[in-house]
């Protein structure tokens, strides 16, 4: 059965209104989020991923609220959600292998270390990362490599919903290509992927649906191709701003 992530009248206000009565049903597709407050897109994604508690409303995954405390039931919910951070996110006092094993060991304690290492080296290979960095601390690596490792760590646990916060920021061309390839593969596998991107417009073109937010409220959603043809001032303003970047 295909997994669904449902935002139900979500309301979240920080200094500005980030989400206002936002309702949307996400099903096995690639979604881009575009808003008139791009600097707050990280927080919008975090609310949808259950990392930040909304002021009102619920985010439901299979009927379970994704923002909950850390009980057994909720652990099963979080196992299905992956989040690729814009920057940072790797534990600085652990080496790369230990970093990759944290969520893997937590969610799959039954899998042997050898099998885990095998899967890790397969994914590292896919991103063109040398296995010798497994013993290095994140601080010793380039920002692009650190970013690629965030993807490796997320994909290892095979989540059913993946959030990408500025996935191409700080990425080398090679890593960018690998990310594209994997996102396309997951798109075919009907994995829910939700992103916000400020560097590269290509991903929006690839998205099945781009959701537009105006001051945190749902404005409209469609493919990027259709939205580009829109005459509405708000839509043309958002798209021209994105294309200019």
């Amino acid at each position: 059965m295909m997994q669904k992530l449902e935002a139900n009248k979500v309301f979240y206000k920080k200094e500005t209104q980030l989400l206002k009565d936002f309702s949307f049903s996400f099903g096995g597709q690639l979604y881009g989020i575009l808003s008139d407050q791009p600097e707050e897109n990280s927080n919008v994604l975090k609310v949808l991923a259950g990392l930040i508690q909304p002021d009102k409303g619920k985010i439901l995954l299979g009927g379970e609220n994704v923002y909950t405390s850390f009980q057994k039931k909720e652990r099963a919910v979080r196992k299905q959600i992956g989040f690729v951070f814009q920057h940072g996110g790797l534990l600085s006092n652990l080496n790369v292998l230990e970093n990759l094993l944290v969520p893997y060991d937590f969610h799959f304690p039954e899998i042997s270390l050898d099998r885990k290492k095998e899967k890790i080296s397969g994914l590292m290979d896919f991103f063109g990362l040398p296995v010798k960095i497994l013993t290095e601390r994140p601080a010793k690596l380039t920002i692009s490599t650190q970013k690629a490792l965030l993807f490796v760590r997320t994909y290892l646990t095979e989540p059913k919903i993946i959030f990408y916060d500025d996935p191409f920021m700080n990425c080398s061309l090679e890593i960018k290509k690998s990310i594209f390839k994997l996102i396309l593969k997951l798109k075919e596998e009907k994995i829910i992927q939700i992103f916000s991107e400020s560097v590269d417009v290509q991903l929006y073109e690839l998205a099945d649906m781009v959701i537009l937010l105006q001051q945190g409220a749902y404005y409209s959603s469609d493919t990027f191709k259709v939205l580009k043809k829109s005459n509405a001032d708000f839509v043309t303003g958002l798209i021209s701003k994105l294309l200019a970047e």
């Binding site: 850390f70 969520p103 969610h107």
Partner: protein
């Protein structure tokens, strides 16, 4: 004017209440996650081992130096003052009272605050800024379970072991100094010393080290996790952690001494 003052007072009370509730719920969360720590030892064991190595093992040199010096100084001062009052035999009583009951635990706690308390607050603060704490939440791992509980356990265990070590080293330092001035066989020294040590002194030292370790680890972890987004907050929170740890350790010391020896 009166309205302004009462409003400011009400705000202070509200702030105090919210801070107290936040700290109390943090402590309860730690106690709650303690049981999960053993279930999740595959991912938390490494943090615990590293904390014990850093707080306990790597502090041995400094603890040895301070303990031997303090033990020696007490004997030196005592040997200089007490014979003038004809109370030389009180030297052992003073050594045991000062080291075992008070200074052993207190000085060990101060050293742990300076080394590990600051390290914990800084490390956790930087982890918040670097989105490392948020990444744990995204896996479904409780930051309290993964980051705080192993540190609390590591500091408490190290504190208890180091306090015992401090007491032994300080008493040894006392014997060494006494031996330099008036050679005394170790057996005589130990016999006189043990005649002054009561079971309650040992229990008191043990209970105090347990409380001090818990207080230092909890306060430092709490302050570290209070950092929001800016790295400039990290040193501010670290300093606050040190000041609060020192204050709470001294307050607990007074309280525990009163309960154990006066009640």
């Amino acid at each position: 004017m009166v309205q302004k003052i009462s409003l400011a007072f009400a705000n202070r009370v509200r702030l105090f209440y919210s801070k107290t509730t936040s700290v109390v719920s943090f402590v309860f969360e730690i106690l709650y996650e303690l049981k999960n720590f053993f279930l999740q030892r595959k991912i938390t064991r490494l943090i615990l081992i590293r904390q014990i190595l850093f707080t306990g093992f790597e502090a041995l040199g400094l603890i040895s130096f301070v303990a031997v010096a303090v033990g020696g100084i007490i004997i030196l001062e005592g040997s200089a003052i007490l014979p003038g009052f004809g109370q030389s035999k009180l030297l052992y009583t003073i050594l045991v009272t000062v080291i075992l009951r008070e200074l052993g635990g207190l000085l060990t706690a101060f050293i742990i605050i300076a080394r590990s308390g600051t390290a914990i607050a800084t490390e956790l603060g930087n982890m918040v800024v670097n989105q490392e704490v948020e990444s744990l939440v995204s896996f479904g791992i409780s930051p309290v379970l993964y980051l705080v509980v192993p540190r609390v356990l590591g500091v408490v265990l190290s504190m208890m072991a180091l306090t015992i070590y401090f007491n032994v080293a300080a008493l040894a330092g006392g014997w060494f100094m006494a031996y330099l001035f008036a050679p005394i066989p170790i057996l005589d020294f130990l016999t006189k010393l043990f005649s002054e040590i009561s079971v309650i002194d040992v229990i008191s030292s043990f209970i105090k080290s347990l409380f001090f370790g818990f207080v230092v680890a909890v306060v430092s972890s709490y302050q570290g996790l209070q950092v929001n987004f800016a790295s400039t907050e990290v040193p501010q929170r670290t300093i606050k952690g040190v000041v609060l740890s020192l204050s709470w350790v001294i307050l607990f010391d007074i309280l525990l001494t009163a309960i154990i020896y006066l009640v």
